[in-house]
Amino acid sequence: MAVADFKKYLAENVLNERRPVTYRSLGRALRVHSTLAKQMLYEFHHTENTKKPHSVNATYIITGTQKITGPTTTNGVNANSHHNDDDEIMPSSPYISSSMPNQDAAADQVPISSVLLVREEDLEDAKATFESISTIHVYSLQPTTLQDLNVLTDVGREMLVNHASEDPLQYGKQWGMIQNTNVKRRTGARPPPPTPGPTSTVPAKRPAQSEPPQLSKTETKEEHTQTKPAQRQSTPSTKPADKPAPVNKEKGSLFSSFAKSKPKLKKEESSTPAASGAESVEPSGAEDVLLDDASEEEPEELFPESKKQPPSEIRESRKEREERLKKMMEDDDDEDEEMADAAEPPDEPSAPIDQPPPKQEELKVEATVRGGRRRGRRQVMKKAVKKDSEGYLVTVEEPSWESFSEDEPTPPPPPRKKPVVSAPKGKAGAKAGQGNITSFFGKK
């Protein structure tokens, strides 16, 4: 038992951190019975105050019967200063033919018992208002007198949050909760999101938060790819497809997350680790964040042992599919983008062209001087329409190599260099890149 630890715990919390501790929070923290926790509080209060008076302040709970005639001290917070709530003789009501029944019942009063929370200083005053006291126990300890007893509710709330993972059905006995053998709880239920209050503001933020890293990643990558084409060669072909999306849609976080997840469908599995790293949150990932943010944000569920149940999974996958379908249907304008996407890749592969190290360019210059033609191989994106496992037609872009040979060697490089210059500016770079594409096609 943690009996030995309680002094340490209380010293840390009450004396050092100057936080109030209630018997329930102590009981939860040390996993002890509420009665024991009350005794611990009392013990600590007693020993500390004998060591150094007034170092610890307590509040008490008094239960019992209050005097009927003692409302003078119990007003204010204690709003119930009316004391004649006894059984009343029903005044004879006109309809009643036979109803003067409780003339004798008028004698017996309704017993009123009280549960009163009292500060240490007021303990004696409060005791005086009681006709008979059945129990007194320590409710909480705190370093100084509480101006506002409502502070104690925060302790309770915090406790609920901190111990949200502990299933009350399992631990209740330990705490001294009254057990009920008949409890019916649905096991199939979705694990409830644990903490109420604090989470409420978060949802809005959540998607946004997950956004920036992705963006910056892709963006920096862009810079990389454009400044150092060579490096790109290893991770090239599939990547570009989804690049424009994040850049264009930077603002609409929600939609961008959908949009981003989409290209992946069209991509091959061969997507580079980098790309999938950023995006491979499943297509439904974004949605998950939106719907289930509470549970996601605090992985510590109320009942951790209950895994994700099949139903919700099924629902999710269906949602996913709907999502995809919707995207396919609605995305005419997306199609435009895809054109851009489609357009870009050829451009970038073209970078590899000049790129097969920059030295080649110099070589090429020489070659032109010789009036020779350029030859080589380049990677291009080809579209292929396929049926996927669910029977939908899916356009997949695949990288493939084609060989070429052409004249006019020198002109291309200068325009291509521009994007390199502007690349650091982020978006501008992307735009420039697009302009580039058209020129590229125009030439072709």
Binding site: F6, R24, H33, T35, Q39, Y42, E43, I61, T63, G64, Q66, V77, N78, A79, N80, D85, E88, M90, P91, S93, P94, Y95, I96, S97, S98, M100, P101, V110, P111, I112, S113, V115, L116, L117, V118, D122, D125, A126, S134, T135, H137, V151, D154, P168, G176, M177, I178, Q179, N180, T181, N182, V183, K184, R185, R186, P192, P193, P196, G197, S200
Partner: protein
């Protein structure tokens, strides 16, 4: 658990004492679906409300006529025998007769839908009024008796001494005077409906132990607003119900705190959420000549104004209690449910944590087992521990009270008078056999077409009303079903040979204001109160 005096149990050093788990007594619970509306699209709002009155009259007329026949058969004044007239319009001038019908009260301050329509302020609920009577012009109040044939204005001193409200079915004895008004000499109401036996719908537990020990907790008006200020007493309440607050130690007995483990069920009678959250929105909508309100005025729903913390706090409060105690939750005026009676259960989606204890989604036909956490209608009717409970969140009593003058016969209006008045209204409702008579006139109501559930088919054993200013309880008894003495008497209650139906009336105070929890003994229906509060000491008096 305590081996020595109760103080010593807690105010001592930690002991190595083992704590035996305490088990809560089981709850026998069998709710009725009287007020559940058909789901979704089957709910029609095209019907006329008039049907409700006809339904009510058709249902209660036989009952009240039976009472009237018992009372007035052979009644005669100056040799003239009272004659039963079937329809209101058949009453002849100067002829002693009696007739049954529905009360309709025309009052100066009563909201009038036609007026509202004319003024085009039909989009907002009328502001609540303390009373529909105009105290300076009591003569403006007209009481009329109507049935499907017509209306008859009632007069006479008798009316001043009885409580009446629109929608009540009564029988009146009297004569029509020269003005065409009906001089009422006596009035009869249907009186208590037949009362079921205890354990009529359930099997009584074999042992008497459960019924001996059991208690049912009633609370209303938790008024959670999401601020910390209203939660301290709530927390004390939860502590008590969960058994953390020591109840009577072994030495003490009946006069101390009731043992929480004997509480088998908690019934929350409405207004679990505080009014202020809704009030703010309302005042904003009303645009209280508001400059600020106008500035913020947006079309549609303003998500930024939504504050989820009250409901999440209620949810965690429920989720904390549910592992130990079953809860019946009724919606109230300020709760997120429909406004018109009968209010339908607060949807479980509001309670992400507590809903794990709900009944499983009803699958197909076959009556589902009630959930451990049962979100029910308001009003609500059901059997708890074999007793029939009938309760509402208080709108019915509040509204009937507006029809009555607060001053009693002596003309004095005391603070307690109001509370007593409420008790009398509750009693009257039972005797009217109609617990929400003023729906659909002044309480918004679903337009029932085939059945008026507000008519009480069976008299409950415990009739409770939530959200009242004060706690109050009383016991009433019904008259004998058959009374063959023809005399017109008010106080015939000396017969003791038949088991009279007795009803316990409880008005449940608002917890937020009083901190009071009402405990009803499952064996005797005796009532006691537990009060939770914080002591305002020197600190706050300074």
């Amino acid at each position: 658990m305590g081996d020595d005096s109760s103080d010593g149990e807690f105010l001592r050093s930690p002991s190595a004492q083992q704590h035996e788990p305490v088990f809560r007594s089981p709850s026998v619970y069998n709710p009725l679906d009287t007020f559940r509306l058909p789901p979704g699209q089957e709910r029609q709002y095209q019907q006329q409300y008039g049907d409700m009155y006809f339904l009510r009259l058709a249902k209660l007329k036989p009952a009240v006529e039976k009472v009237a026949i018992d009372a007035w058969e052979g009644f005669s004044i100056a040799g003239e025998h009272a004659r039963h007239v079937d329809r209101v319009l058949d009453v002849r001038q100067g002829e002693l007769c009696w007739v049954a019908g529905t009360i309709y009260m025309e009052m100066p301050l009563k909201p009038n839908i036609l007026e509202d329509l004319m003024k085009e302020n039909f989009t907002l609920a009328p502001p609540p009024r303390p009373t529909y009577q105009d105290p300076s012009h009591p003569e403006l109040t007209d009481i009329m008796l109507e049935d499907e044939s017509g209306r008859l204005r009632l007069t006479g001193s008798k009316l001043a001494s009885v409580q009446l409200a629109t929608g009540v079915i009564i029988a009146v004895l009297g004569t029509e005077n020269a003005n065409g008004d009906f001089e009422a000499l006596d009035i009869k109401v249907p009186d208590l409906a037949p009362q079921p036996q205890r354990w009529e719908r359930d099997d009584a537990p074999q042992t008497s132990e459960g019924s001996k020990k059991g208690k049912i907790a009633l609370v209303s008006g938790l008024g959670i607003t999401g601020t910390s200020s209203d939660n301290l007493t709530l927390e004390l309440l939860a502590d008590y119900l969960l058994g953390y607050t020591p109840s009577s130690a072994s030495g003490h007995n009946d006069e101390s705190l009731a043992d929480a483990s004997g509480i088998t069920r908690l019934i929350i009678a409405g207004n679990s959420l505080g009014a202020s959250t809704i009030g703010d929105v309302l005042s904003l909508e009303n645009g209280v000549q508001g400059k600020k309100a106008a500035q913020h005025k947006k079309y549609g729903y303003d998500a930024s104004a939504y504050n989820a913390s009250p409901i999440t706090q209620l949810d965690s409060f429920l989720a904390e209690l549910l592992p130990s105690i079953p809860i019946t939750l009724m919606p109230g005026e300020t709760d997120p449910a429909n406004f018109s009676l009968p209010q339908q259960p607060i949807h479980r989606a509001m309670f992400p944590r507590a809903r794990a204890y709900c009944a499983p989604q009803p699958t197909g036909e076959g009556k589902a087992e009630p959930g451990w956490f049962d979100s029910v209608t308001n009003p609500w009717e059901g059997d708890v521990e074999g007793w029939r409970f009938w309760g509402s969140s208080g709108q019915n009593v509040d509204d009937v009270l507006r029809y009555l003058s607060f001053a009693d016969e002596d003309g004095n209006v005391s603070v307690d008078g109001d509370v007593e008045e409420r008790m009398r209204v509750m009693e009257a409702m039972l005797r009217w056999r109609c617990a929400v008579p003023t729906a659909p006139d002044t309480i918004w109501s679903y337009p029932f077409q085939t059945d008026d559930p507000f008519v009480m088919q069976a008299c409950p054993h415990l009739f409770f009303t939530g959200n009242q200013p004060r706690f109050k309880t009383a016991v009433i008894e019904g008259g004998l079903p058959l009374k063959l003495n023809g005399e017109d008497t008010e106080m015939g209650g000396t017969d003791e040979d038949a088991p009279l139906p007795t009803v316990r009336l409880v008005s449940i105070p608002k917890f937020k204001e009083t901190g009071e929890l009402v405990l009803v003994d499952a064996g005797t229906l005796e009532v006691e109160v537990v009060r939770f509060s914080a002591f305002a000491g020197k600190e706050e008096n300074q």
